[in-house]
Symmetry: C2
Subunit: 546 residues, 2 copies
């Protein structure tokens, strides 16, 4: 028996296109590879996560209608497809076994994640039954994503094995963060060892707003060996040959040599950022993107990612020099655009800045220049990019990184103005690693060494350096990890040896800038906890860490 792991990139809501894609992959797996059974990810048909679209009756109906049509098309082979089921009690995150032009079996997810980015208890009722069914006489157990992550014993894999399953199948839409693949692989191996059953894991691939699904569907034999691994961050079909054994278990033999290699963490993050950008732009039908190129490392990295995602024709760099821009940064901005061979525009903001000052100074009551004048420059740039966006229909990509966004070292409606924040979850220290990775990978200086080496500066007043206002980024990024990602408190940070003055300043900055994050564009989650659905802090918040 041949099983095809069909790792597809669905689009949330575009049910008809998803159905068409499922059928295409199914036919290809059957005709090209001789598959008997194809397996598609969790919610492959409606897309994942469909969020409040799930509250629309016509959305659910469409997904059920399309499932029936799919079933009708699948005759002499089998397919397992993730969809939304419905009964009088509510909705279910379900899998259907299709074959003989019918829906043969149904399974509904029992463990509904409702933490982090997940809201599944908002929408779904839990399935009640662990069950197995036979395909071509082989008893199989099916589960959906979270079902195999829950810790209660006996877990679903053990239960299915006891019910007589000889293969376990898990379909998932498992959101990516850096390093999750290893956790997942260890978990899958553990489940195999506990249940003594081989396991096929089919994961979604693609970007959906904040989330990336990294694919990397796997097959693990009954000994716990990884025998097949599908591509990372790309659609793929992986064929696994199943041979029935006279012993209690089945074992796998893969058809082809497994070419996929484990990738390094920095490369996996780069690929995630590229896929996230590509899918946001393409699934939302933008023809091009605009990036404010300052000559600094964040905008340079954003431009590299955009070019990789979309091609050089679709990326426009815009440099907007002010009276505080140095020749060096302007040269670097130009150099980056040249290196990437993208379109480059230069729109100086001096006249606008002057006109704002003339307009506003009479109202400023002789108060000294402060953050106001700095923000003005940033907002002029935001307004220019948005004007170009309005005129040409391009999406503005923002360039701020997680370190800045954490402490509010950014201007609301200024450098945060744009539709998608590529580096929103990338701390500054990782920005550097990514820049070095890119130059190494390309074997030349795509991002100029001067850009990498220059002390970070917003260039919004004379001789400004980030480090005048912020602690060194290596310290800051550690504090952000502890405070934001791990929810540790002031006292715990002190115990780690950070200086109390710095810790309290950083915590106050993070807490008091929630309002900026609430109005910032969505960006790609690459850490265990990103800003967005993952971290739901009140703006009005009287809690003090001190």
């Amino acid at each position: 028996m041949k099983i095809a792991l069909c790792q597809i990139n669905s689009t949330v809501g575009d049910i008809e296109s998803n159905a068409k894609k499922i059928l295409d992959f199914h036919h290809r797996a059957v005709s090209q590879f001789g598959a008997d059974l194809t397996i598609f990810p969790e919610c492959a048909l409606p897309g994942y996560p469909a969020e409040d679209l799930l509250l629309r009756k016509n959305f659910i109906q469409k997904n059920m209608d399309c499932l029936k049509e799919l079933a009708f098309q699948i005759k002499d082979s089998f397919a397992i497809v993730g969809f939304i089921n419905k009964d009088k009690n509510g909705l279910y995150n379900s899998a259907a076994l299709l074959g003989s032009s019918k829906i043969l079996e149904l399974y509904s997810k029992q463990a509904l994640p409702n933490y982090g980015v997940f809201d599944e208890k908002r929408y779904f009722e839990p399935g009640q039954k662990t069950k197995i069914f036979k395909i071509l006489n082989i008893p199989m157990g099916i589960s959906i994503c979270e079902d195999i992550w829950v810790k209660h014993q006996p877990n679903i894999c053990v239960k299915q094995s006891k019910l007589g399953a000889k293969i376990l199948i898990n379909i998932s839409s498992s959101p990516f963060f850096a390093g999750k693949f290893k956790l997942r692989l260890n978990l899958l191996k553990k489940r195999v060892k506990e249940s003594k059953c081989p396991l096929i894991y089919v994961n979604l691939v693609g970007g959906q707003d904040e989330l990336i699904f990294d694919g990397r569907s796997t097959a693990i034999d009954h000994r716990g060996n990884l025998i097949a691994l599908a591509k990372s961050f790309e659609e793929d079909i992986k064929i696994v040959q199943v041979e029935s054994s006279k012993k209690s278990n089945l074992s796998f033999i893969k058809v082809e040599k497994n070419k996929e290699e484990l990738i390094l963490e920095v490369e996996e993050i780069y690929k995630a950022l590229v896929l996230g950008t590509k899918d946001y732009v393409e699934k939302n039908h933008f023809k091009s993107v605009l990036i404010g190129l300052s000559g600094g490392i964040d905008s340079a990295l954003t431009a590299v990612i955009a070019k990789e995602a979309l091609g050089k024709e679709k990326v426009i760099g815009v440099t907007m020099p002010s009276r505080y821009s140095s020749n060096e940064t302007l040269d670097d901005a130009k150099k980056i655009a040249e290196n990437l061979n993208i379109k480059f525009m230069r729109i100086p903001i001096e006249n606008l800045f002057k006109t704002y000052l003339e307009t506003l100074t009479p109202h400023f009551k002789e108060l000294k220049p402060d953050i106001t004048e700095e923000n003005l420059q940033s907002r002029i740039r935001g307004t220019i990019l948005m004007a170009l966006s309005n005129k040409f229909g391009s999406l503005v990509l923002t360039t701020g990184n997680k370190s800045e966004i954490s402490v509010g070292y950014c201007t609301l409606y200024g450098d945060t103005a744009g539709g998608f924040a590529v580096l929103k979850d990338v701390p500054k220290t990782l920005v550097y690693k990514l820049a070095e990775f890119i130059n190494k990978k390309e074997g030349k200086e795509i991002i100029p060494a001067t850009t990498i080496k220059r002390a970070p500066t917003a260039e919004l007043k004379p001789n400004q350096k980030d480090q005048d206002s912020l602690p060194p980024y290596d310290l800051l990024d550690q504090m952000i990890q502890y405070y934001v990602e791990e929810d540790q408190g002031y006292k715990e940070l002190l115990k780690k040896g950070f200086e109390s003055g710095i810790v309290s300043r950083v915590i106050k900055l993070i807490d008091s800038n929630e309002y900026k994050r609430r109005q910032s564009p969505p960006g790609i989650k690459i850490t265990p906890k990103s800003f967005g659905k993952d971290r739901r802090m009140p703006i009005t918040n009287g809690f003090s860490q001190f």
Copy 2:
């Protein structure tokens, strides 16, 4: 026995101040009114909803420490206080009975809402036990908010009654929307009739980001009569005298005549908007607010609400005329400021608009003027307001209404720039009703008749009228109600008699403007479904209604 319904306004996270307030109210109720038992709302101690603060260990610990301190202070009387409890399985949304300097009893909420604005399953484990306890020899049943809303029979009130409860107590933090009070009152009466037990309902009051809690705590006697009603949208103490009867039930006699009257829907909405604005500004420690006064009805209404919430000294109106502003609207802007006696600034944007056009036109490739130039004016105004905000530390209130925000008839980073959106959930037709209500209430033209009568216009190009781009607001607002608030689809709207061309245009506008809403400031929920936590739509969304 005297019971005090202590309807307080907690601040999320400010646990120490909340504890102090609880103790103050308790002492006042005991010393001034002779209360034997005081009752405080759900999560009165940590504030509600605390969202992801609940994931912080030190937050939970602080709330438990403060509960213990509170308990220590309550000696010869009793108090029921909402707080967060914790055991090895997780967190609980709980009530504690305090007395004799101890925590005497605990109850944990069993029904955890996880729909609409609620995320309680993200944080809490459900309590397992329906229980009753005796206070001064009277057996009482306690429940928390959602516990009494669930439909399963027998409901908690019936169960508690069967266990011997002679009074039922429900503590709530029940988010307001217009008309909810009636639903709630009917529910409470129904529960009394089913259980044949009098019911005391203590609700939170105050604003927390998007949410308003309207207070209106109630006592209902065993016959189902409303005998006590606390104030709406204000803190209050209401005393209820309980007399033990020889029959199976107890009945209440209220101490004072109940002065609160039922208020009209438009007035209740006005009060909610005032409280929401006041609490957002004050709990976030802003000293003043800035409002762009165009002379139109939305900004006029926003200014009236702000003045009512904060007082005239704290409201600054800014008019920013352009080449397209008419003398009539400018006169109206000034008149509104005069009528409210608020500070008024005039900052023309013509020079800035000209400078932007000069700067950008060379890059516009001779394309005709379009939405770009309109948005520029709006973004100039947003930038000016933000500059004043930066310079003087004032909060910018945005003035957009729900109709505009639904269809994206607004400029991102332009008129949507600001910290709080007062009318975000108020449809345009309701804006008119509120304006009329205000003038009637004040007995004079606070909002000029010319402002109310003028056909709505953004004044961003010559002779522009909202109705050139949008259907009439009475039609639009109905469609928004059906499509956004009730999740009805295209076909259902057609069945209601709307013209298909208009319906499809409106639906497309609503769907395609999700990205703008994602970046807009929080605003006050007054309908059953607002934009924000209440409606979680994907931006990337391929679902078509057609």
